[in-house]
Amino acid sequence: MTTQAPVETLDLEDIQGFIMRSYPLPCARYVYVHIDDKQVNAARSTLEKLTELVTASTVWPDATGLEHALNIALSFKGLMALGLPTSSLISFPSAFAEGMARRKILLGDEGASDPSKWDKVWQDSNADPKKSIHLWLAVFAADESKRDSYYSQLAKLLGLGSGMSVLGFEDAGRLKDPTTQQYVNTEHFGYRDGISDVEFKGMPFPHVDGRGKLMPDGSWVPLATGEFLLGYPDESPENPLAPIPHLLARNGTFMVVRKLHQNVASFRCYLNEQSKKFPGGKELLAAKFVGRWRDGTPLTLSPDKQDPILADDVNRNNSFTYKDDRDGSRCPMGAHIRRMNPRDAMLFSKLADRRRIIRRGLTYGVHTPEDQPGNDTDEHGIMFLVMNSNFERQFEFVQQQWVHYGNDFFQGDDKDPLLGNNDGKGKMVIQGDSKTDRAPHICTGLPSFVNTRGGDYFFVPSLTALRQIALGIISTI
């Protein structure tokens, strides 16, 4: 057997901090910046100043006392605008060069999710070279006022003569109850979010079962670093495909930005109507869609009821396999979490190890209390971020084969009930249980609960790479 080079420690000062984990900061502002390629020198100098503000992974493991953070990513057009040599540009993956809009068929971004229906800032970015989103800035802060004051400092850097201009920004953050102004722990559909972190070698955190990869003896170990960071061995094991020169790629990753609008009224209405037919009732139906009760309790561990103690225990709430749930009687075969991270659901957990992605989501818009029907039209959803070292092998595969298709889970063409572009025609089989003679239930007429409203593919360089891009000294010679 081949062995993997051990990666014991990583250069935390060189790796952008938001790759490792979500900061304990509830507010975010995502800023979309255009670079004027006629002022490339000014733009590079601005990038250099921004780089000095970028939050590195040295804030971990706790990020205590952190009041704000800044992270940066570049689109392919952004790298062009900054004058990267062609020999380096063509070494980037073609999926990245094409950008997310042109991958729409593969990603299922059709109908209401079609790029022609995206938010103006993203449509303009795809259509108008003068409005291309080149640089993605993420500001994270402890509260709104800290966010605003930190952003106003940045806005000065991006002002006249910077070679850059702000095309727009979007705010996101944890939801608040509109009456009490207290943070709630869920996204718009009422599910607890942010449970499934990924664990890879070299992360500055204590080990937690259920996050890495499953070994044949049932133990969990961290995934190979190269699945998420360029320049390190991956699960193959080999160094992942990466752009040249090496120092441009090393400690960087690729990121998907996806603005996902949530049709709150459609979701609540479907749940109410379908649960009249579903014997287990509304909360169980909601749990069956996802594979977790809305408080986060995994169905596989607790099929009959929510378990708040289990749900709050980070050492247990993500530590499970489908070994004793092969037929889906607890967590349905086509449930959201079984698709996003199948663990051992496919018999060969190795097949899942090559498709893992770092998923991050922050909600935007106003929370609709559970007792209200809500609406589909208001601006509410999730700013979804995915990080991986290979778009095609990881994110796009998950999106195409597991979200919009289900053959690997014996679900044929049936799509993810939550994320799938189901368009009123979706179907989901909720498996029954041979031990109790509970019959399976088939949900039909599933609408698209989520629509894509924008996004693109970005490169998240290391701090070294950002500095070298800013100095204009990237060379493949």
């Binding site: 037919k277 239930h441 088939i442 039909t444």
Partner: protein
Amino acid sequence: MSINCAWLSKLTKPINLKLNKNGQAYGLTVLAPIKKGHADKLRNTLAKIPPVDVDSPLANIPLTHNARFNVIDDLPFIGAPALYDHLQNQYLLFSCVFDTGNSNASSVEADLDAYLQQMFAAMPEDITKIWGHCVDFPEPLTLPAFQDFVKKYQISGGLFFADYPDNSAEQVRRSLFEQKQFIHFAIKAQDIKGSEPAQLKADFYAFYKTLANTPTPPAGSII
């Protein structure tokens, strides 16, 4: 899974054991040289076969599971220190899997004849349009001449993997069709309240009877 293999022990000269079957499925491989200067025309002919399977001439041979044509321009060169292999002819590689309805290894000759007979009856013009570009294609085309032509260029033996070797293409399509129909029934039946078992039973047998009388969609359909 079951695997069928004909192994050939001589160093350079094959012994043709003609064991081309796995279960009742037959794997046919034909490697025929293309007439000089005809490869581009042949490739164009293949490119113009309707891409939708149900419209394909091969859909007229219900025994066929799948079939492919590859024009081989030359042998691959994998770089020094390997030898450089070069062909003087271009070749048409045809490969298909078809049903024989029996698992009898001794009937391979008759099985192939029977399939080629169906092909000859189903798509005579297409046979000429395609293999007419190959060396020694019989003209005028007769069934025995076509059978001899295919056998002359057939490559036999090897390891043949089949995941459902005992099911005919017709059975596969019928099963897929009934699966689809049954799912539709099950969805409707789910809405019949538990208090109506008599209704459920009546509906089920009515459905089952109708299903039995409904023909299978044609070969190549998306079911």
